[in-house]
Each structure stands twice: as C-alpha cells, then as structure tokens.
C-alpha cells in the first residue's frame, strides 16, 4: 500500500474542519476589517478602524467583560463546591442513591431559555411567588431591578442550571478513583474530614481542573439567562460580553464592529483560560 494513501482518508475530516471551524473564524476576521452595517452592507475594507474604536472608545465592552469575569468565576466556584458536595453525597452508600443521581441532573436537562422564563416569573417583584413568600417575613428583595441584587439573581439561575453538569463530571471522577488509598486511610484511622482533605481532594484534582475549565468556557458565553432575565439591566449592570456583542451585531446590525469584538473576545478567552488552567494545575497538582 502506498504510504501517501493514508492522507487521502484524512480529507473528509479535514474538509469538515475547514468548513465548520476554520472558515467561520477567517470570515469573522475579514468581517471585523469591514464596516458592514445596516446601511452599508458588504465586505468593504476599513483596516483596523473597528479595533481602534474597541480599544480606545468603547468602555462598555470592557465593563461587560469584567462583569462577565465576576459572574463566570463566581458561578463556577459555587457550582464546583455544590457539585462536589452533591457528588460526594451520592458517591457514598446512601438510600435512594440512584434516585438522587437522576434528580440532581434534571436542571441540566431542561431548556435554559424556558427555565429562565420560569425563574423570571418566580422573581417577579410584584406577581412572583418568591417575594410573595418573603413578604410574610417583611422582606421583598428587588431581584431584577436592583443593580447589585440582579447580578446575584443571574448567579442563582446559572448555578441552579449548571451545577448538575459539574456534579456529573465530579461523580464520574469519584467513581473512577482507586480504592487502595481509601483503604489505607481507613487502616490508619483517618477521620472523614482528613480522608477528604488528604485523599479524595488530591486524587480528584486533575478531574476538578478539567471540570472547572470546561465550565469556565461555558460560563464565559453566558447570554440566554441575561437575555431573558434582565436584558442586561437594570442599566448595564448585568450586561455580559456575549450579550453586548449580540446587541451590537444582531440588534444594531453593526456586523463589522461586532465581529471585531467577537475576535478580540476569543483571543482574550484563549489567553485567560490558558493562564487559569496553568495556575490551577500549579496549585492543585503541586504534589
């Protein structure tokens, strides 16, 4: 068999890769160098004008980016802690273990937009059941209309929706751990807390890093929750990068400018997630 024939079998995959990954990225880069908008459709060439505008005259993009960083880091930390606790709980031999494993996965299997509409109804400040209940205790938080509380409302919905994903990954990790270190710890008389700190957590570190990075990538694209829950408001207090790019691209139809924001955002995310992965590896896998 001719050695070169094997490259022939790579072509289908290569074409798909070029079609669905490489071409859109190249097109976005080209689009970002154009002034395509509602009144001037077309791939004209305006050089780096969009990028100059982005870096020198658009504080809203950077504000939305830092807001996104806060929201995604906070939600992922909470998802990790809660997900780990739940996974640890059903990893043990408890009653109705299978039932709980399925139950904890339900939020992830629901449609995000539909669930956010339901959450919005829950948090509706004059008609929603949450404030109806809380008003019995004399409190009525402004879930969607206070700039600070609205951020935490977004966090609550995100954590509810995506903790099951973290739970799933961490439970799979726990189930794959070797039994010997736990037997050795038991023979040495280690308490459950010591067992967790010195055995379970270190053994789970590689899986934890993977799970956190995957969730960070997903959380950094948070859009549907914001769109349905607050539309980025009140003011711009819950506006994230992807929502802002959506507004500029598909609402205001500034396609060229939105493309330059998308590409810049992509580069920033690649760099920052690489750094986060390195730092997590250094901290969690130091031994």
């Amino acid at each position: 068999m001719n050695f070169n024939h094997k490259y022939f079998f790579l072509f289908p995959g290569l074409f798909v890769l070029i079609g669905i990954l490489i071409f859109p990225i190249i097109f976005v880069v080209r689009l970002s160098l154009s002034g395509w908008n509602s009144y001037n459709p077309g791939l004209d060439y305006i050089g780096l004008e969009n990028y100059i505008r982005l870096f020198t005259d658009d504080p809203r993009f950077w504000e939305s980016f830092f807001r996104l960083s806060f929201l995604s880091v906070t939600t992922v930390i909470l998802q990790y802690v809660i997900g780990f606790a739940l996974a640890h709980m059903v990893w043990k031999d408890i009653k109705f273990k299978r039932f709980f494993r399925v139950l904890f996965l339900v939020p992830m299997m629901t449609t995000p937009v539909i669930m956010t509409v339901i959450w919005r109804t829950f948090f509706h400040e004059s008609l929603g059941p949450v404030n109806d209940l809380l008003s019995n205790f004399g409190v009525a938080p402004k879930w969607l209309t206070d700039p600070v509380i609205a951020k935490f409302t977004v966090i609550i919905v995100e954590v509810w929706q995506w903790t099951p994903f973290m739970f799933l990954l961490l439970l799979a990790g726990l189930l794959s751990l070797p039994k010997e270190p736990f037997l050795a710890a038991a023979i040495d008389g280690a308490s459950p807390i010591r067992k967790f700190i010195y055995v379970t957590f270190p053994l789970m570190a590689p899986i934890s890093i993977g799970a956190i990075i995957i969730r960070l990538i997903e959380a950094s694209k948070i859009m549907d929750t914001v769109y349905v829950l607050t539309s980025g408001g009140p003011g711009t207090s819950t506006e994230t990068s992807s929502f802002y790019i959506f507004i500029k691209g598909l609402r205001e139809f500034q396609m060229g400018y939105a493309a330059s924001m998308s590409f810049t955002y992509l580069i920033i995310m690649i760099i920052s997630l690489t750094i986060i992965a390195k730092v997590l590896t250094k901290i969690l896998l130091k031994e």
Partner: protein, 509 residues
C-alpha cells in the same frame, strides 16, 4: 370626496352588527360582528382569486401581538384562495435582523415581512412599493394622513398600513372622576384631582395613589405602569415623556437633531427634565416596575394594578375587553404636557404650557422586492386590513391592531360592537383624532441605522433609571454616541433622511 367615502364606510361600520350576518361570518366567526364588508379585498372578492399551488411565506411577530392576527388571516386567506401560507413567528427584537440578514445577502426567504414602521429607511431598498391599484382603493383612501406618512418614504409607500400607533395617556376614570376621591385628594394635597395636564401633576397624583388599596379589592394598587425595561421599547416611552418639554412649535427644524447642523438635541435641558421626571417615576411604579416591558405594562394597567399608564393602545384595549376587571372604568387623554418648554434657538425655557402628541412608530409590513409572489403578497395584506377583519381585530387588545383609518374614529364602532360606555368611546376617539389634527406632532426617528440611535437612548436612559448616571450625564453619553453614529453613517445620509421626518413634523408634507 374623501369625506363622502369616510361617511359611507363609517355608516357601514356603525350599522354593521345589525346588517351583516352573512355567509362569510358563518364560515369565519372572527367577523361575526360585522359580516363581510364590501371592498377591494373583502371576503367576497378574495374568494374569487385562485392561488392554488402557490406558497406565501410570512415572517411576523410572536403570538399574540400581531402574530395572532397574521396567522388567523393567513388561515382565512388559505381557505378563500387555495394558497398555502407559511407563517414564521419571531420575537420583536429579532424581526429586524431576521429580514435584514437575507435582504443583505440578496435573498427573499419571506415574501411578507413584519416589522416596525421606523425600519423603513433601512428596509425600503429591499421592499416593493405598494402598487397603484391598492393605493387607489377606497380602503387606502381612508387611511389617515399621519399613517400614510409613516408608511411612506418621500411620497412612495413601502409599508402596507395594517396598524396605527401613537402614545397617549390612560387613566382610571373611576378614581380620577370620583367625587369622594377628589375631595380626599384635595384635603390631603391641596390640589385638584383631574386628568393630569402636565407630567408634574401626573407624578403628584401617581405618588399619592401609590402603594395602597384605593379600589377596595383587597390588593395594593400603584401609581403608574410604564415600559422601563432596557431594550424593550423603553426609548419610545422616554420620547413620550420628552415631547412636552422639548418639542417647541416655535422652533421648527428638528426634535431629535438640529437639522441644519445635525447636532443632537437629546441632551438639551428639555430632554434632561423629562429624564429627571422619569427617574422620579421609579418611585411610583409597581414593585419590579423598572423591569416592565410592554407586555408587563399592558398586563399591569389592563389588570387594574395602576392609576396611570401611557404607551400604545394595547393597555387601553385590554382594559376595555369584556374579561377585564376594569372595563368601562378607564379613560383616554392626550399625553400630559408641561408648564415650560425648551427653546433650543434662544437656549432658554419658555414658561408657557406645551403639549405635543407622539405619533410613535408601530407595526408595519412590507413585501420583499425579490418575492416571486408579490401579487399574492399584496392581496394578503389588503385582505388582512379589509373592513371586516380590521374592525374585528380592533376589538381584541392582544392583537395589537390599532386605529389608523379615518373611519376608526367614529365612537359608535366601539359602543355598538364592543360595548364601550359612550363617554369613554368619545374620549378615546376624540383623543386619537386630536392627535391627528395637532400641528405640534413628533414622528419617530427614521434614519439610516435607526437601531443604533434608539439602542443608545435605551442604554443611556436605563443607566439613569438604575442610578448608574445622573440624567444629564446619561444624556450627554447618548449625545456623544449619536454624534459618533452620525459620523460613521455619514452626516449627509442621516441629514437627508431626517429631513423627510422633519417635514412631517413641521407640517410641510
């Protein structure tokens, strides 16, 4: 001639409940109140068309507002003509891009596209002008001058009129006209309780009637329901509050911009005063009211939760539907005015009463230039707004179809067909009619890239409502953004387009 036509159509409508129990109303219960009404696109005329084997594709709004009548009339059109009609429903915020993306790519996946009338400048190059035979139809001749203007660009009609929109004040008549309440209000505040003439009066009354059970239903009521949610048409609510302070009939030449220089007026003291009032309004809306979109506003006022509201007709119609707890307890009035108005030429306040109607943009629909079934598409639109359908649609608040024909201003339609109290029907039609006659109207901004301008207003004003910026800072930010947009689009392009709207505002068109 026009008066004669109007009278004929009006009289047909007035006596329609008695006159038309015909074969068409048996087949199509939607028009049971009137039966078929003769016209170029009546049920009778449409039944003679044969579009069998042809498909009409429509992109419209989500159900119910405009989406429900689109689908209903599509189904009727199919039955009458044999055509196949495919209706796609799209959220309001995506209507523009859903049509614009294929338009710009040179495609026409939809023959008929619904949107808002202020899209006209961006869409007109992709839409087919309304053919003469429809322009000359008696039903088209019945469309008001304002709405002919809103649907047209420099004399050419690109959007087929199916809806007429304006913002006006809605109030709880059972409270404002209640002698006991008037006495109580006078005793507590020293002021008269009456339909507010100014935004300051509106605020005083709304504050007074906020957060207590003034209608005795066991639930708390509030002052005002307004569209304050960012990117949910809030910019239109802001303009409604601004016109009183910033539309000065003695300074023609532009409300949004100074037409000569294209310098934005949006941060002048008139607009700032309006935004300051609006920030104050966050104190007398229902809990969560600063996150109310249009649907919430309709539900809130229509459900009897607030004393006042102002925006499109929908909340009023919802309040007057048979299933409403406040049917025949509401009133319509012009938007409140102001005791002072900004003169942008002398750069000073004029201390005299000013009121300006806002002929806000509304639903509009066009036929794609590249459509292969343009005749059928226009027939569908003509059928959509024929006399019988239009009158039946007007009676259903959730449909979002509002008066845009001269004959719509006859109060008897609402008294006979919809069971409205005559006094309310009169105040409603008179309010709408007065807006048509006013010489101090403001029309929607219709310039290239209109979404960029309105989006900047939504962002700036929502920052002020959320307390992130002061009203002046917020509007300075909007003005800076508007200047940048004008510069990007090209001053001449925006100026030329804006001049068309200014002509209408200055009563020169």
């Amino acid at each position: 001639m026009k008066t004669c036509l109007t009278a004929i159509i009006s009289s047909l409508m007035i006596f329609s409940p008695m006159a038309y129990a015909d074969k068409w109303s048996d087949q199509f219960p939607h028009i049971k109140a009137t039966g078929d009404i003769p016209g170029d696109c009546s049920y009778e005329k449409m039944s003679k068309k044969n579009y069998k084997g042809k498909t009409l594709k429509i992109n419209t709004h989500a159900i119910p507002v405009m989406g429900e009548p689109t689908a209903l009339h599509a189904e009727q059109f199919e039955k009458l003509t044999g055509a196949k009609v495919e209706v796609t429903h799209t959220p309001a915020g995506d209507l523009y891009s859903k049509a614009m993306v294929p338009f710009q790519a040179g495609q026409a996946p939809y023959d008929v596209v619904f949107g808002f009338s202020n899209f006209i400048n961006d869409w007109k190059r992709y839409l087919a002008p309304v053919p003469k035979k429809y322009m000359n139809s008696p039903e088209m001749k019945d469309v008001t001058k304002s709405h002919m203007g809103v649907s047209s660009w420099d004399g050419t009609m690109y959007q087929y009129p199916v809806d007429g929109d304006r913002h006006y004040l809605k109030y709880r008549k059972d409270v404002i006209d209640n002698p006991e309440m008037q006495k109580k209000y006078k005793a507590d505040t020293g002021n008269e309780l009456r339909v507010p003439r100014t935004w300051k009066e509106y605020a005083q009354m709304a504050k007074y009637f906020n957060d207590w059970d003034w209608d005795g239903d066991g639930e708390k009521e509030y002052g005002s329901a307004e569209v304050m949610k960012k990117d949910d048409l809030m910019f239109a609510a802001f303009f409604s509050r601004s016109v009183a302070y910033a539309k000065n009939p003695r300074t023609p030449g532009g409300f949004f911009f100074d037409l000569e220089t294209m310098k934005p007026n949006i941060n002048n003291p008139g607009f700032v005063e309006a935004l300051s009032d609006w920030v104050e309004a966050t104190k007398y809306v229902p809990p969560g009211g600063t996150n109310f979109g249009l649907g919430d506003e309709i539900g809130s006022f229509g459900g009897g939760q607030t004393l006042f509201s102002f925006s499109w007709d929908d909340a009023f119609i919802a309040a007057m539907q048979d299933d409403s707890p406040i049917k025949n307890k509401v009133g319509a009035a012009p938007l409140p005015g102001a005791d002072k108005v900004w003169n942008r030429v002398s750069n000073s306040w004029e201390n005299q009463y000013n009121q300006a109607p806002y002929i806000v943009w509304g639903w509009a629909v066009g036929v794609a230039k590249k459509s292969k079934v343009k005749d059928m598409a226009f027939d569908y639109l003509c059928f959509f707004s024929n006399g019988a359908n239009h009158q039946a649609d007007l009676a259903i608040g959730r449909f979002g179809v509002n008066p845009f024909k001269n004959s719509d201003f006859d109060p008897n339609i609402y008294i006979n067909s919809m069971g409205w109290d005559p006094e309310i029907a009169n105040s409603y039609t008179q309010t709408l009619l007065d807006m048509e006659k006013s010489n101090n109207r403001v029309f929607p901004l219709r310039v290239p890239g209109v979404f960029e301008f309105t989006s900047a207003v939504a962002t700036g004003t929502s920052k002020a409502l959320a307390g992130q910026l002061s009203p002046q800072e917020a509007l300075d930010e909007v003005a800076k953004e508007w200047e940048a947009i004008v510069s990007r689009v090209g001053k001449k392009a925006v100026q030329d387009a804006y001049a068309v709207g200014v002509k209408m505002e200055d009563n020169k068109l």
